[in-house]
């Protein structure tokens, strides 16, 4: 079982990535009860934003200088697109039937994928993403890559910043109020339109950070990278309790760990050889989701309305 520590780290890394993207699903759902299926593609555009910054920078720029600029580039691109879709696609449909924005989200998702495919130079196949030189680091039997270090630091810091923002700032409290009751919040003088934009923007920013981590970890970005990851992140958000920001992170970690451990150990159980391996990991992850939803339909951390933001 000396594999276990490394597999736990693998799971945590994968889970952190799911968590970062899941925040976007959960925040938007918490405030406007919309499942923003285009969020996976917002994540993807963040990755391309970071890559664009890297390509613009003169060759030979050190990663220590380039990385912050790439994160800023990723966040700007993702936030601009997220806010743009909110303004021009979702806002006109607000107050309409629930289905309309949902279908719109799927449409935007396809449109963004195809737009990047068609117009980003070379995006018809995977594009190489720069890597942080150095590493890998060894901790006992655990090996950690430089790209993973970024993810391991970025995820908790992002979570802490988000927690502080929602709990302590005026805008954050406005978000909580809007989540509880949009109409009353409006009567109390909260500009709910602005709050909704902020929710979209924040979600996009975290997705962008996740996208930079994705690029650093796997060394490539492609126009379809947001599709599967977006679905997984959505699953993580439901698992953790959609609408709850801490739930998104916990759900992400649970999902990542479940997938990794299923890959690693199910096949070792006598008689389960056929059902093990990475191709079955998704099955086990969704078995976990079904079990959680059976016993706790509100997700791991519940849909505590008061905390929803």
């Amino acid at each position: 079982m000396n594999e276990l520590p490394q597999q736990l780290v693998n799971g945590l890394l994968l889970g952190s990535m799911y968590g970062l993207v899941a925040i976007g699903y959960t925040m938007v759902y918490g405030i406007v009860q919309l499942i923003n299926f285009a969020h996976g593609e917002i994540f993807m555009t963040g990755g391309f934003g970071a890559l664009t910054v890297w390509l613009i920078l003169p060759g030979g720029t050190t990663m220590w200088l380039a990385l912050p600029l790439m994160i800023i580039g990723a966040v700007i691109v993702a936030v601009t697109i997220a806010v743009g879709t909110e303004r021009f696609a979702y806002r006109p449909l607000r107050g309409g039937p629930r289905l309309a924005p949902l279908i719109t989200a799927i449409g935007i998702s396809l449109a963004l994928q195809q737009a990047v495919w068609a117009w980003y130079p070379g995006a018809t196949s995977s594009l190489t993403f720069p890597e942080i030189p150095g590493g890998p680091f060894h901790l006992g039997s655990i090996t950690i890559q430089t790209g993973d270090v970024f993810l391991l630091t970025a995820a908790p810091i992002s979570m802490a910043v988000l927690g502080y923002f929602v709990m302590k700032t005026r805008t954050g409290r406005g978000m909580q109020a809007t989540a509880q009751d949009p109409d009353t919040a409006k009567l109390m003088g909260i500009n709910t339109d602005r709050i909704i934009v902020v929710a979209f923007a924040l979600g996009a920013a975290f997705a962008a950070i996740g996208a930079v981590a994705y690029g650093l970890k796997y060394g490539e970005v492609n126009f379809r990278m947001g599709f599967i990851l977006g679905l997984k992140a959505f699953t993580a958000a439901v698992l953790g309790g959609i609408g709850n920001i801490y739930g998104a992170m916990i759900g992400g970690l649970a999902l990542g760990l479940a997938e990794t451990l299923a890959t690693a150990f199910i096949a070792d159980i006598p008689g389960m050889q056929q059902l093990g391996g990475q191709s079955w990991a998704d099955v086990w992850a969704f078995v976990l989701l079904i079990l959680v939803l059976l016993f706790r339909p509100q997700g791991l951390l519940g849909e505590r309305v008061a905390d929803r933001a």
Binding site: I106, Q145, G219, I228, A264
Partner: protein
């Protein structure tokens, strides 16, 4: 309650979204061939022109286009102008079948080159066979496509008479790699990974059979989902298994990142695969970590064959945006075999296309024999290429370098 029904709805939509991406074919008219008087014969092309495998697919499309252009330029078949109609299957069997139906409906189509994926071919074979429309794949290597499901049990039976291929099968490719690894590279402990697709699983199985027969040991097996990029869990298993080589049955979009992640984990062992990873994209995806990886591919290296020099030159001259990749030569030969068959039919019919041109072309395919880009091109009673040469390539200095060529003998 409303929320719950929303969630259920969402789940349904998610499934819908998953399958949505699989449909929707994007029409690509391909390069227009030079016009001319007389009859127009269309050669259909089906390959993944978008998505992860598009590098290989575009190479196929361009090479067929080149064959059509050359035939027109040389006026190879009197009074016939060749045109291509390229459809995108996105490596999805469902799209492949739709494309097949579309090509069958166009009466000018007398032959089809493609597809890239064995799994796509499975979905197309019956459609073409019902229409007696010739299909020649430059890339399918699954033995069952020509020799029936029981090919390994000894009873070979050709399921569809309209299906031909210029590529060699996995029944030869897997064992060839096993022999090279065991005898030449002295690797004794292998970790097998495949993507569960028709091509990947078949390749891994034939490799395993030969490798264990030679005395090698399989220290672990896993199957991956080629849509994901995170193989960390599998990589950790590989590292701890003590294997000295990894054999991957599948294609480069998963193989590249897999190889990179294996090396990054600290296990400095080569990844070996079939023609599905023999692509410049693999080199891009696996990065500098992939150096030393091996791939087998059908035929002798296209660039070194004297018969191929002309093809490489003409391809360069035609200024295609994309490289001809692993299957360029085979695609050219596939298209040319159709052109040869059309020529025979036209010549036999006094310079005109007969009414039942498709059936006649299908008949003529059996006798086709010419010196192609990849060597002598002709088909045996199953529709398989008679040319059974294979080559092992090693990733060195930013490119695939041929290491050893040979034919597999039982």
């Amino acid at each position: 309650m409303r929320q719950r029904s929303l969630l259920i709805l969402t789940a349904v939509l998610t499934t819908g979204a998953l399958s949505l991406t699989a449909c929707g074919s994007r029409d690509d008219k391909g390069g227009d061939s030079a016009g001319g008087g007389g009859t127009t014969v269309v050669i259909g092309v089906d390959a993944p022109l978008t998505g992860d495998l598009s590098a290989l697919g575009l190479g196929i499309k361009n090479s067929v286009d080149l064959a059509a252009k050359q035939a027109n330029e040389k006026k190879y078949v009197d009074g016939v102008t060749f045109k291509i109609e390229a459809l995108d299957d996105q490596a999805q069997p469902s799209s492949g079948q739709q494309n097949a139906t579309k090509l069958v409906a166009d009466k000018n189509v007398l032959g089809v080159v493609g597809p890239l994926n064995s799994s796509v071919a499975e979905s197309m074979q019956k459609v073409f066979d019902d229409a007696k429309l010739v299909q020649v794949s430059p890339a399918n290597t699954n033995p069952a496509l020509t020799q029936g499901q029981d090919w390994n049990g000894g009873t070979k039976k050709r399921p569809y008479a309209s299906y031909f291929r210029t590529a060699t099968t996995d029944a030869i490719q897997g064992p060839f790699a096993a022999q090279y690894l065991f005898n030449d590279a002295k690797k004794k402990k292998v970790f097998l990974v495949d993507d569960k697709k028709t091509y990947g699983a078949g390749l891994a199985a034939t490799f395993k059979a030969e490798f264990t027969k030679l005395g090698g040991k399989v220290v672990g097996e896993d199957h991956v989902n080629p849509d994901t990029k995170d193989f960390s869990a599998v990589v950790t298993k590989i590292k701890n298994s003590g294997a000295d080589v990894v054999y991957y049955g599948g294609e480069y979009p998963a193989a590249g990142p897999l190889s990179k992640q294996i090396k990054a984990s600290g296990a400095k062992i080569p990844l070996v695969g079939g023609d599905g990873i023999y692509s410049a994209e693999f080199i891009k995806l696996s990065g500098k970590e992939g150096v030393g990886d091996l791939a087998t591919s059908v035929g002798a290296p296209v660039e070194t064959l004297p018969s191929a020099k002309e093809f490489v030159e003409n391809y360069k001259k035609a200024n295609y945006k994309d490289a001809f990749e692993a299957y360029g030569g085979y695609s050219y030969d596939s298209a040319w075999s159709i052109i040869e068959a059309v020529k025979k039919v036209v010549d036999d019919n006094g310079g005109k296309l007969p009414d039942d041109a498709r059936a006649k072309v299908l008949d003529a395919m059996k006798g086709v024999s010419f010196e192609g880009v990849t060597g002598k091109v002709s088909f045996d009673e199953f529709g398989d290429a008679t040319n059974k040469q294979l080559t092992v390539y090693r990733y060195e200095g930013g490119a695939w370098k041929p290491v050893k060529s040979g034919t597999y003998t039982g």
